[in-house]
Amino acid sequence: MSEVEPSTGEAAVFWVCAILSVTGALGLILSRRAVHSALWVALTMISLAVLYIANAAPFLGMVQIIVYTGAVMMLFLFVLMVVGVDSSDSLVETLRGQRIAAILLGVGVGILLIAGVSTSLTGVMSVGLDAANAEHGGNVEGLAWLLFSDYVLAFEVVAALLITAAVGALVLAHRERWTPRKSQRELSEERVRTGTHVTPLPNPGVYARHNAVDTPGLLPDGTLSEITVPAPLRARGDLRPINTAAVEETAALAAGNDVLAPSEYPVADDPGTSPGEPR
């Protein structure tokens, strides 16, 4: 076994990345927010990738970042963000004794790993990477050679497994359409044929104070136009109340009557929601 003393640079990289990756691993289990956990894992993965590169395995390091940090972790983040932006785990134990069992098992796995790795470090003779790399002209070439010759079956089996998983996900998420999807053209033709709203629906009311989507527009006679508010809000009954005085005033104007002078204008019950301010 050849003992090679690492250079100062390599030692520095090791200590920085080792501390970072262990911090990331601890952060994963200790942070309460799922998104923070995902970020800590990303940190661990990137630190490990840097260690791989420092250990003369640049391809492995890059692929680690592209596949794990860039794709797998990103998908996790995606799901976390879509499912619940603010969800954080509760610390109430649902399974009795689960925490103790988990700690015991974790320590056990740790002991096994340390034992296995230490035997391989002391008992196994290292051939050296340079000889292996030189055989096919480089690290990437050597890996490619192994993947597509000795391990081609395993490679293909893993590929088939992944494709099966992807197809399975597609099948599970697939929703069968009973009728063909209407194209933009068909939709517009349908609008013209029914003739109720050929143009897009009118906007919500736009006033000095409110242009929110739940503010209905007023028709010329002062009544509310419900179609100006999006259908989901209408269904929930979320129409912003309108100052009735303003509506009456508009109606009076429409009927050709005089309206009150600004000083006589009644004070609205809720000034925050009144579109008709004294002019």
Binding site: G9, A42, F59, M62, T69, L77, G138
Partner: protein, 453 residues
């Protein structure tokens, strides 16, 4: 190993190169913003910024200073730490990607012979991809940590878009790797000495150019910042210097993908044809100029696209990426690798290969045309069949037990008396089905519908 990847440069030279790249990128960003505004103005019959400095060149510098001095507003709902680190990730990753781009051949800097490139290793191009995928974190985290709906949607959108287009992008690299026999940027440039890859690998080049516009969130693929839908996208809640960092990152990414396109497809710093007749065009510092011109060409294309094309709809855009770009790159990779194998294993001339290729292409086009016509006929027949099926009166008990109507089928309510009559008359409806609960629970709406009718 560590000496090789930095070309055995002394430490001060490495530092000098890092500084030069940093300054170059910042200057290029300032220039690109001005250039974009001027070119778009010309395309819209305007003049554009022309007041600050010669030709208005200092406009973006002034804008940058103003932006940095503005008040910073952080939403109350923001997650402070993540909100702070997101623009930092974006900007640093944008700078990092440039480390492997070759600017020129061997030159002498203060008596040291060194190539104009910070670092190079066997997987340089993968390094750019890896850095790009970390850069996406900046955008996703900015969207999430702002604690507001529009940024979240914008962040999700842009990361979905960047991941999808990164796939097409990395697939367009495969053909280049096959031809160059390497993933190191300097060797890819060297391999393009007689002929550039944009000529022999034209489909890869076109796929890359499309994907790079999607990758940088630029028009017509700028859906993450679709103002009409999402206000400003992921950076809606950012202001002052943090916003400036995102802005900087966006423009540096533009320069990076352009530089990568130059390196992989336009021969990097190699002089283009009429210039290459001049013996010393590819030596000394001249290649930096050719490189800059090529990169600016791509940036002009970016601006041109922005000035010309309207924004795509999101579903159309994703469909284009997944159903057109990725399958097209896969097919192209298969063709390229087949051609390589045939050339390596058998002794065919290029002419013979091209003839065979043309034959296969014609057969493919004709075959797919015939298949498409047959498919169309079959679909039309299916639709007619479905329409006939739907036109039949719907009988919920046809299968022996009650089922709801399919979309498009009308459920006509028959009263229990009529049903009973039908059973007595000896129809196929079994007696126990007639008496079972679902008939009692027939929705009232259908009864009303019948009354209306």
């Amino acid at each position: 190993m560590s000496g090789e990847i930095t070309f055995n440069d002394p430490w001060w030279l490495i530092l000098l190169k890092v500084l030069a790249i940093f300054v170059l990128l910042v200057l290029l960003t300032l220039f690109t913003i001005w250039w974009e505004r001027r070119v778009v103005s010309r395309m819209q019959n305007r003049i554009g910024p022309n007041r600050v400095g010669p030709f208005g060149l200092l406009q973006s510098l002034m804008d940058g200073i103003k932006l940095a001095l503005k008040e910073e507003i952080i939403p109350k709902t923001a997650h402070r730490a993540v909100y702070w680190i997101a623009p930092v990730i974006s900007a640093t990753m944008a700078f990092c990607a440039f480390a492997v781009i070759p600017f020129g051949p061997m030159v002498s800097i203060f008596g040291v012979e060194t190539p104009l490139q910070l670092t190079d290793f066997p997987v340089s191009v993968l390094y750019v991809l890896a850095i790009a995928s970390i850069g996406i974190y900046g955008i996703v985290l900015a969207g999430w940590s702002s604690g507001s709906t529009y940024p979240l949607l914008g962040g999700l959108r842009s990361s979905a878009q960047m991941i999808s287009y990164e796939l097409a992008m990395s697939m367009s690299f495969v053909a280049v790797f096959l031809y160059a026999g390497s993933m190191s940027t300097s060797q890819i440039v060297a391999a393009q000495e007689p002929i550039w890859y944009c000529v022999i690998l034209l489909p890869s080049f076109l796929i890359y150019v499309t994907a790079m516009v999607g990758e940088t969130n630029r028009a017509p693929f700028d859906l993450p910042e679709a103002e009409g839908e999402l206000v400003g996208g992921f950076h809606t809640e950012y202001s002052s210097l943090k916003f400036a960092l995102f802005f900087l990152a966006e423009y540096i990414n533009m320069v990076t993908v352009s530089a990568l396109a130059t390196t992989l497809f336009l021969g990097g710093w190699i002089a283009p044809w009429p210039l290459s007749l001049w013996a010393s065009a590819n030596t000394g510092w001249w290649p930096v100029l050719w490189w800059l011109i090529k990169v600016q060409l791509f940036i002009f294309v970016f601006i041109w696209l922005r000035g010309t094309l309207p924004r795509l709809r999101y579903d159309q855009f994703m469909r284009f990426g997944w159903k057109v770009l990725i399958p097209a790159s896969l097919v192209w990779i298969v063709i390229v690798s087949a051609a390589r194998v045939v050339r390596n294993e058998y002794s065919f001339t290029t002419q013979q290969l091209l003839l065979v290729g043309a034959g296969v292409l014609i057969a493919f086009v004709v075959g797919s045309w015939v298949l498409q016509i047959r498919q169309q006929r079959r679909e039309e027949a299916d639709i007619r069949e479905a329409a006939r099926e739907l036109a039949k009166p719907f009988d919920p008990y046809a299968g022996g037990f009650p089922v709801p109507p399919l979309p498009g089928q009308e459920f006509t309510y028959r009263s229990r008396r009529a049903m009973a009559g039908a059973t007595v008359a000896g129809s196929a409806v079994p007696a126990e089905a007639t008496a079972s609960a679902p008939i009692d629970g027939v929705p009232e709406t259908s009864e009303e519908g019948e009354k209306d009718a």
